[in-house]
Structures are given as C-alpha cells and as structure tokens.
C-alpha cells in the first residue's frame, strides 16, 4: 500500500473503493451505464442482478482490467481511473475471476507464492547480489502460503500442478492466491458458482472469517441464500444501472428487482 493510501485510510474519511458515474461501452452497448458505488472499510457487500446486468464489467472496471469510457474510481481517495490491475493491487484491491485462471503448469504452492508482493527475488540482479535475503523472504513466503493452503483445505495438493484441480478447488486456489497479496479489499466474482453444497459451506465459512479479520469484500453472487447469510448490504444491477440497494431481504423483495429477474422470462 502506498503512503498516500495509508494516510487516507488512517483518516478513515475516504471509502476504500469509490466509483462515480462509471460508464463502459462496448461498441453500441453500454454494459455499465452510470454506476456510482462505494465500499466502506470492513464491509461485505453483495452485487446481484440477472445475467447481462453488467456485474462482471463493473468488477473489471473496479479491478482495473478494463478502462472506463467515463467516470472516476478512487481507492482510499487516490484516483486510479486509468491505472492497471497491478497498481490497484498495490493500493490494496485484489480480485478473483469468475472462471478461475490457475497457472496450470505450476504447482498449487507455487501458484500461491506468486501472489506475494514486493519480493526482492523478483529483481534479476538481487538473486546474485543478495541471495541470502531472497532465500529468507522465500522461506517466510512459503510459511504464509502453506498457512493459506491450510485455510482453503488444499494443503495435501501443494505439490500437484494446478491443472489437476477440480472447478471448486480452483476457486479456493484463486482465493488463497489473492490473499497472499494481503489486499485490504477483495472482489470475488461468483466464488460459489458450480460448487457442491459441502464446498459451498466451506467457502461461506472462510469468507465470514476473512470479513471478521477486517477484509472488505465485494461479492458477485446469484445464490441469494448465500448473499443473505453473508452480506449486510446488497446492491442490485440490471441493464448496466443500479436498481436497488439495502438489506438483502429488502432488495430481494424490491418490485424493480423482482421485475428485472422475471423480466427476462416475461
């Protein structure tokens, strides 16, 4: 995290993530059409909406994988509207992908180790000039990565290449990998999609633990039961716009939200 961001987070004034008037166009389609959203420190917020509502595009804008056509994004008060995903992670915002993207040929442990930030050994010359420091950092990183693999119950697989993992295990690996970077906020894109009930309970439990430890979480999820159990606040989107915002039960009962979900079928 930069000093600027640290100073801002200490004052506690600026939201962790704040987006204003975000627009993203793909050709003639406005996938995100004037969305303003703020995420306070320590919140767990659910983002719901029918398919094609623009949730993942909004995520990509917040994470820096896409540039907004217009609008501004701030992390702890720092304008990051045009910054890439790597600089946003430095400011404390990390993300996972809807379809997990493991480094297939690398082992599970190496996948997690890659998430570590500011490694001396990532600079060519330091591997020759200060090998002791590189090795010491690496030992600490391995300890932390193993703790995270325990946390997501993948320890037994640490020396297997990530390509052997099942769909649900890949989601857990993505979670461990981004936690390795120590982000303040995590954007999770459908962490429970296509996951069996036993694993779903594990994911819910782990997200609750992370939020309890102070991590801010923004969650895209279709499973309203899961959103209701986890999130204090829910934001509903449809056709690129915000429809409703509030407590899960209230949003789920909101006539506009119901119409948006049913509207697809009607």
């Amino acid at each position: 995290m930069s000093e600027q961001a640290q100073a801002a987070s200490k004052t506690g004034e600026a939201p962790l993530i704040e987006a204003r008037g975000l627009v993203r166009e793909f050709g003639g389609l406005r996938a995100v059409d004037g969305v303003s959203i703020a995420l306070e420190h320590g919140e767990m917020v659910g983002l719901i909406g029918p398919n094609g509502a623009g949730k993942t595009t909004l995520f990509n804008l917040l994470a820096g994988s896409l540039r907004p056509s217009s609008g501004r994004i701030r992390i702890c008060g720092v304008d990051v509207s045009t910054a890439g995903p790597d600089s946003r992670l430095r400011l404390g915002v990390g993300r996972t992908f809807q379809i997990p993207r493991p480094f297939a040929a690398m082992t599970v442990l190496e996948n997690v180790l890659t998430g570590r930030q500011n490694q001396t050994g990532e600079r060519i010359a330091m591997n020759f000039l200060q090998p002791g420091r590189v090795a010491a950092e690496e030992r600490r990183a391995v300890d932390k990565a193993r703790a995270l693999l325990d946390f997501v119950t993948l320890s037994r697989l640490e020396n297997e290449p990530a390509r052997v993992l099942s769909g649900g295990q890949r989601k857990l690996l993505e979670l461990a990998r981004i936690l390795m970077a120590d982000p303040q906020a995590i954007l999770l894109d459908e962490p429970a999609a296509g996951v069996n009930p036993a694993l779903l309970e594990l994911i819910i439990d782990r997200l609750r633990m992370l939020n309890g430890d102070g991590k801010t979480i923004l969650l895209i999820e279709h499973n309203m039961d899961m959103v209701g159990r986890l999130c204090g606040r829910v934001v509903a989107m449809a056709s690129g716009r915000l429809l409703a915002e509030g407590a899960p039960a209230a949003v789920a009962a909101n006539p506009d939200v119901v119409a948006a979900y049913l509207g697809e079928a009607a």
Partner: protein
C-alpha cells in the same frame, strides 16, 4: 587417426555448445516466458558482427575495426544484442504470441539486409574475415587448439547454465512462468507483465548475442548467409527436442540435434555423387523436421521437459511439511467439476 578423431570430436562439441548457448537464450524467452521469437538468427548475427568489429584490426575501406581483446568483443556482442532486443521489445512486446513472431521475423530480415548492404560497416555479402581466434598461438597444433577452445566454451556454458538455473528457480523465474501460463492472472496478482516480458526478451537476446560472438571467433569468418532462417529453425528444433522450459534440456537438445545434423551431413556427402550434393543437403533440414515431428508426437514436452517443482527454495522445504490445521474430511470435497 585417433588424433584426427579427437580433434573432430572437439570441433563437434564446441559447435554444439555454441548452439547450446543460443538455445539457453531462447529458453528464457520461449521456455520460461512464452515469447515467440522467430528472429533468433538476427540476434545471433548482431553479437557476431559487434564482436568482430570490436576485435578485428582496422581495415581500409571499412568503418571500425578496434583491435580490442576478444573478451571485450564477446561482452560487447552480448550487451549490444541485449540492448537492441530491449529496444525492439519496447516496441513490440505488447503484441500477442503470433504477432510477436511476425515482428521478430521481420526484425531478423531487416538485420540480414543491413548486413548485406551496409558494406562499409559489415563488409557486405563477403562479411568480415580474420576475426582473431582464442588460443591462436596454438593454431599449429590442432588437438591442443581444439580442446582449449572446447574448454573455453564448456566454461562459458557452465557459467551461463548455473546463472540461468538460479534465475529460473527464483521468484523472478516464477513470475515469468506465471505470465507464460496466464498473463491476465499474473497482472491481477500485481505483476507488471510488460516489465517482466521485456526483461526476459532482453536477457534472451543478450545470450544469443554472446553465442554469435563466440561462434564468430571460433570460425574466424562471418558473412550474412550464416544467419538465415535455417539457423532459427535449428535452434527451435533443439529447444523443443531437448525440452522447453528446462535448461539442461536446452543444452542436451543442442547436442542431439547438432549430432543428427552433422551425421546426416556426413552421410549425404558419402552417398550422393558430387553433382547432387548441394541439392541433397536439403535432406538435412527434412531430417530435422522429421525428428521434430516425432518428438512432438511421442514426447511433446521434449526429452527432459520442465521439472514439476521449479523454485529452488522449495526443494529442501517439502520434507518439513507441518500437519494441516484444518482437517480435510473428504478425499475430494468437490467431485462435480473435474
């Protein structure tokens, strides 16, 4: 007779080790980072010409000829080739795999045309001769001369291999592999992929330049025709046969493919009548192509392939594995999607 065989053996191995250096360079770019460089010959050529210009005596009608020590020439060849790779990379490294391939191929053609046409610098089609050879004072005794050169090259390859192994197994190497596997995911984990790709491209280019310099001084004469796409093809075949992503594989592949090349060359000379030999020489390329197909079909990861756990810091640590604090109840928590 034995003396002649031994000195041919030394010559053979020295040449193979020079290819091994190029192959190690390509392994950094392709094997580790997934950068599709099909302009290998161009970077080798730059190293060769720069070193030749630095070390040859001044000649009338030709710019340069600085008469510097051979070591300076090798170093200069590597540095300039690395620098040019960096500049070319700065322009092209954002291109995706196949587009980067087209750009590097174009660069190699441009370099070849420059060698042919910048006569006052490169000597044009006739190239540069009388490049000083290491251990030239032993030139009268072929056996000593051959083995001294072999020892020198073996030393260079060993140093390079050890340095590259350290890098391959370091956090730097890990980031390169992550970028090769999935660049978007690496970016989302805070890795500035452009910076790392550029570094890998420049390091690989410098190593190819070093190989070019070594070869120029070993043969003593260079000309543009040494640096045709055939060279690029040979080096690619070596890396794929030996095992992309594995430095030992790169060295082994260079020796194996060079052996196929040299033996088939000898066989063609023995079998075909003198008039047909120029055409029959194409069979060597056919043979390498066949060997490549066979490897890709039966052993797609090459003879040695990438090792499973690459980081050097992990090797000793796996034994001290602590018990997991979160017990895993089920063998497979998630059996639906595999």
């Amino acid at each position: 007779m034995i003396g002649a065989l031994l000195s041919y053996g030394a010559f053979f191995m020295t040449t193979a080790l020079i290819y091994a250096i190029v192959c190690l360079g390509l392994n950094v770019q392709w094997g580790q980072t997934g950068l599709f460089n099909v302009g290998v010959a161009g970077f080798v050529a730059i190293g060769a010409y720069v070193s030749a210009l630095l070390t040859t005596p001044a000649a009338p009608g030709r710019f340069a000829g600085f008469d510097l020590p051979i070591a300076i020439g090798w170093l200069g060849g590597a540095v300039i080739a690395g620098l040019l790779s960096f500049l070319l990379g700065a322009l092209t490294i954002r291109l995706r795999a196949d587009y980067l391939a087209i750009a590097t191929f174009g660069a190699a053609v441009v370099i070849h045309l420059c060698m042919l046409n910048l006569q006052s610098l490169t000597g044009g089609p006739f190239g540069i001769g009388f490049i000083p050879r290491p251990f030239a004072s032993y030139a009268g005794e072929p056996l000593e001369f051959g083995f001294l050169n072999l020892a020198l090259l073996a030393g260079v390859v060993l140093m390079l291999y050890l340095s590259l192994e350290r890098l391959l197994r370091s956090p730097w190497g890990r980031v390169l592999r992550a970028i090769r596997e999935d660049e978007a995911a690496a970016l989302a984990l805070g890795k500035n992929s452009i910076r790392f790709r550029l570094q890998a491209f420049a390091v690989g280019g410098a190593i190819m330049g070093l190989a070019g310099a070594a070869q120029a001084h070993f043969i003593g004469f260079i000309a543009p025709d040494n640096y045709q796409p055939t060279l690029t093809f040979q080096v690619w075949a070596m890396l794929i046969v030996g095992g992309s992503g594995n430095n030992r594989g790169a060295v082994l592949g260079a020796i194996v493919v060079w052996a196929v090349w040299a033996i088939s060359g000898g066989a063609i000379a023995a079998i075909f009548p003198a008039g047909e030999q120029a055409r029959a020489a194409s069979l060597q390329i056919v043979l390498i192509g066949l060997a490549l197909c066979a490897i890709l079909l039966w052993r797609p990861r090459g003879i040695l392939g990438e090792v499973k756990i690459v980081s050097r810091h992990l090797a000793g640590l796996s034994a001290q594995r602590a018990q997991p604090s979160f017990a895993v109840k089920d063998e497979r928590l998630d059996g639906e999607k595999t």
